[in-house]
Symmetry: C2
Subunit: 344 residues, 2 copies
């Protein structure tokens, strides 16, 4: 989907007001409850056993070079799959450039990382393990060897991947399968969309209206409020990017250093990708402060205010901020109960 | 209990062979299943609600200065309450001097830390939060303030501690209550002690015999195989210490740097405390490699061999090592299922 079509779509959404377009040539609903099943790649079918194996790996600190971090150290499932820090520090003490995003509902993304540099969840996982600012493992082989030396893992990989057993691809597959299982359905907003008109407060409803009418919804729409998803208009690997900040030169931009990082440009080195960013998921946004790619904004209220200024060129009133924030809080879904695995 | 009485006790144990002394003036069983209830301090009664609050705190990284570590980061409940590392690195990158011990069954200890410098679990927790090599919080007040600023915690503390609400003592009390709930009953050895003679293998039974006859059992006895417990011969705060290495000058001592750390001397500065150490818990020892106060020994087999050399002046045969190791593996209890809390 081209940038121009995005903008047309945005116009549709803005025109539609409270946001339901049906029966048109587009035939989609810009906002809809979290679908029961996320898209699953053909070469990594979701099985209960593989999800359980991936969960063990997710909590296993031996996937970091010095055994100090597990995936859960930054994508903390006790904290909605994120951490409380602006930026996270990796296994060897190096700090990454971008704030750790939640993992809940990322199965519905089409690209990964803030700059969309991974075209599948498997690829994103693979990248994390070797990233010097994250798990800092020295090589794919060393990851495989370390797990292969643990008898219980050797057995579980043989069970789940009978042809190949433990190798790097299968490690990333198991982890991706577990991460795909992390969904938060049944938010108040989902119930509202499902027909329960009392599921969200008047303030939240007003906030939703402000959100759409003001233009937030021109990027933040569809099931994750982060743009198109696979199987509809988008294909896995095809990202939905927007310019941020859209209105340059604001006080907010300077204060929060919003333009220091060039976003997708750092991946493609194309001029048109300067400060282009994957539109982030808004589900559970109330649980995952601090905000923005650099984690520079501490509260949801301030994040809403800054977004209005930098993206829409608008100054939201206190009431508008309160209403939009109330709406965003309705996006908090039902977090699944997660029991700790017992590691071998 | 004096050192001399310890030694007398040890003689009893050695004489008793497989280890059941009953009906004597001593009237105790040197080995016994994990008692259903650990000792609970009068000023911190165990309640379900307080345990639940303590569990939240245990998983909350905001108890470390920079939000990087929770208690679970080193005392990993997915890994029997310990980590895989010889030494653990704290929130600011400083590494501690001693290996992280398991937290399971520590409610049955009388002193805490390898050198026994804390006389209660509450005191041990309090010390961790401010330790520069652990959570590195700047002051007791800053810990309390940080939690008091989180509404859900303010409410939960008011509920559990109606007189005082959030303060440092109550934070340590809630954490200690949760940690006291971490028990692993029903090991194969417990079932054996309970009368099921087939609960452990022939090799393990032979290993138990070797363990007691060789002198391991002169320190490693009673419910945690770590010496006396409160309510029997010992009082909370009164430690059970032994010299390590007991036979100086061995190759093992040099290789694993076992004498570099002076143990309890670093607390008391008394000459008689040089290289004196709290006898560690052996329950779940098969799950908590690497071994010793400095985490210098990677495998259980090597740990048994080194202990025989340095503590007993003996060279165990391969068979003896295999048998004793088989016995130690019977000390793995039933790890409780632990669900992640959802943090505010």
């Amino acid at each position: 989907m081209s940038k121009i079509v995005n903008r047309l779509l945005a116009v549709f959404l803005i025109v539609s007001g409270t946001g339901l377009i049906t029966g048109s040539a587009w035939a989609f609903e810009p906002y809809q409850p979290l679908p029961p099943e996320p898209p699953i790649p053909a070469d990594n079918p979701q099985t209960e056993s593989k999800v359980a194996l991936g969960k063990m790996l997710f909590f296993d600190r031996r996937l970091s070079v010095n055994g100090s971090l597990s995936c859960n150290s930054c994508h903390d499932l006790a904290r909605a799959g994120s951490d409380y820090r602006p930026l996270s520090t990796g296994a060897t003490g190096l700090t990454g450039q971008r704030s750790t995003p939640t993992l809940f509902n990322v199965a519905y993304q089409t690209v990964y990382f803030w700059d969309g540099r991974a075209v599948s969840l498997e690829q994103a996982v693979a990248s994390h393990l070797l990233d010097k600012t994250v798990m800092a493992m020295p090589s794919r082989q060393r990851v495989s060897e370390r797990l292969a030396n643990i008898d219980a893992y050797a057995e579980l990989f043989a069970l789940n991947f009978p042809d190949e057993g433990i190798n790097y691809e299968n490690i990333t597959r198991a982890l991706a399968s577990f991460i795909r299982s992390l969904r938060t359905p049944d938010s108040a907003f989902d119930r509202y969309l499902g027909g329960d008109k009392h599921a969200i407060s008047k303030s939240a409803l007003q906030g939703f209206s402000t959100f759409v009418d003001s233009g937030c919804g021109s990027c933040h729409f569809w099931v994750n409020l982060s743009g198109p998803v696979p199987g509809l208009a988008f294909k896995m690997g095809e990202g939905f990017y927007e310019l941020f900040p859209n209105y340059p030169g604001t006080r907010e931009e300077r204060r929060y250093h919003l333009s220091d990082d060039l976003g997708r440009y750092s991946v493609t080195h194309e001029e048109t990708d300067r400060r282009m960013w994957r539109v982030p998921i808004l589900r559970n946004i109330a649980l995952t402060a601090p905000y923005f790619h650099n984690g520079s904004v501490a509260t949801l209220e301030e994040a809403v205010r800054v977004m209005a200024r930098t993206q829409l060129g608008k100054s939201f009133s206190h009431q508008q901020i309160a209403d939009v924030t109330a709406f965003l809080r309705t996006l908090t879904g039902e977090l699944p109960g997660i029991s700790l695995p017992q590691l071998p």
